[in-house]
């Protein structure tokens, strides 16, 4: 058996499992060195156990118990009668429930765009933005006309048509938004990202429809 000092210590403290303990007992019968180590440990234990038990100058358990009782009574001492405690507990539960219900109601209240029925970007407007969109629409229309002359490929023209129709609807929304924003001036900022994401989203969702195209000659719409 391969014996370590740790095994001897565990055997000494009675923590070796049955099989290992039997092995160790057999080993100790033959190994003088291990027996010596074990007896050294036992002797040391006897010596250390002779150390006196030190006593504190005061009754620490009593002091701790008083402190514990004070801490327990701190809250309930305000309400000495059990009936009051019950009522206080009911009031706390009621306040918490009302708070919870109110929070839920606030969460479910319609957002500004839901109330107005106007897309979020529509009431975030400024004259500069309208002018920018108008200029963009003009530029695109110009490109469409140029493409017509050049008889460019169908797909590209269609994309431009879509873009133009999108921008026109955006323009309409912006114009409507001027009126709405006066009624609900909730938000006065308009980030470029939000505008872009809205455009992209709307552009991607837009299905090809004849209504959205400008009447252009020489363009076949399918």
């Amino acid at each position: 058996m391969r014996c370590t000092y740790e095994d001897i210590m565990l055997y000494w403290s009675g923590e070796l499992s049955g099989k290992r303990r039997d092995e160790m007992e057999n080993h100790l019968k033959t190994c003088d060195q291990c027996r010596q180590m074990l007896s050294d440990l036992e002797a040391l234990e006897q010596e250390v156990k002779t150390l006196p038990l030190l006593k504190p100058g005061k009754d620490l358990v009593q002091i701790a118990l008083e402190k514990y009782e004070r801490s327990e009574k701190r809250f309930w001492s305000l309400l000495p009668v059990p009936a009051f405690r019950f009522v206080a507990a009911l009031v706390v539960v009621f306040i918490l429930s009302v708070g919870y219900l109110l929070m839920n109601r606030l969460d479910q209240s319609p957002r500004p765009q839901e109330r107005t029925g106007v897309p979020e970007t529509s009431y975030v407007v400024s004259n500069q933005q309208i002018v920018r969109v108008q200029e963009r629409v003009k530029r695109l229309e110009k490109r469409i006309r140029g493409n017509e002359r050049k008889e460019t490929r169908f797909a590209r023209t269609t994309r431009i048509h879509r873009k133009v129709s999108l921008l026109r609807s955006e323009l309409d929304n912006l114009k409507t938004g001027i009126v709405e924003s006066e009624q609900f001036p909730f938000r006065n900022t308009f980030t470029r990202q939000r505008k872009k994401s809205y455009e992209d989203k709307t552009f991607n969702q837009l299905q090809p429809s004849h209504d959205h195209f400008l009447p252009l000659s020489g363009v076949r719409v399918c």
């Binding site: 210590m9 040391l44 006593k55 620490l60």
Partner: protein, 187 residues
């Protein structure tokens, strides 16, 4: 007849405050002795022991029997001792021996032994206290919990929150240093 710890715990769970008090009173001196040897200052050891009992009273409701109650109390005491040491940044154990010696001299209550026997006992105690000073804080904690309190290594591992092998390693080093110190002083 002494009521077993388990019975007292059961009574304390049922709301018997005096059972809880009796339970902690059993470990009053043991906890204080461990803490004074660990911290090395009487006042701080008293504070730590008091806090140990306070936390014990507070947590006794939540205590579920998983091993010895003694190891549970020592776990709280050990944590309090470490907290005090951290707060005071006092890892020196110098004061411990002088304090212990002072008590040894004061607390030999039995007048029957002969003066020579008393002197020999005091001298032996002093030697062991001095030998314990050679150990590091962690080694001293393991040695005291095993040799003085008689706790199992698994319990010590739980108390000190260390792996069993670490505890065994500390015990090995501690025993080695202790034997060397005691041998050097020819006890």
């Amino acid at each position: 007849m002494m009521i077993p710890d388990e019975r007292l715990i059961h009574m304390a769970h049922e709301g018997n405050q005096s059972a809880a008090e009796q339970l902690f009173r059993r470990y009053h001196d043991r906890i204080f002795s461990y803490l004074i040897r660990m911290i090395g200052d009487r006042g701080l050891a008293e504070d730590a022991a008091q806090e140990t009992f306070f936390r014990g009273f507070r947590s006794l409701k939540k205590y579920r029997e998983q091993g010895l109650f003694k190891s549970w109390v020592f776990q709280i005491a050990h944590r309090e001792g470490l907290r005090v040491l951290k707060r005071e940044k006092r890892h020196s154990m110098i004061a411990a021996s002088s304090e212990a010696e002072e008590h040894t001299e004061r607390e030999i209550p039995d007048p029957s032994p002969l003066p020579t026997e008393v002197l020999m006992h005091q001298e032996k105690t002093r030697c062991i206290e001095r030998a314990l000073e050679h150990l590091t804080g962690a080694e001293k904690q393991v040695v005291l919990l095993r040799l003085y309190e008689g706790l199992a290594f698994k319990d010590i591992a739980r108390i000190t929150k260390c792996p069993l092998n670490t505890v065994l390693g500390r015990m090995r080093n501690g025993v080695k240093k202790l034997k060397k110190a005691l041998g050097g002083e020819d006890v």
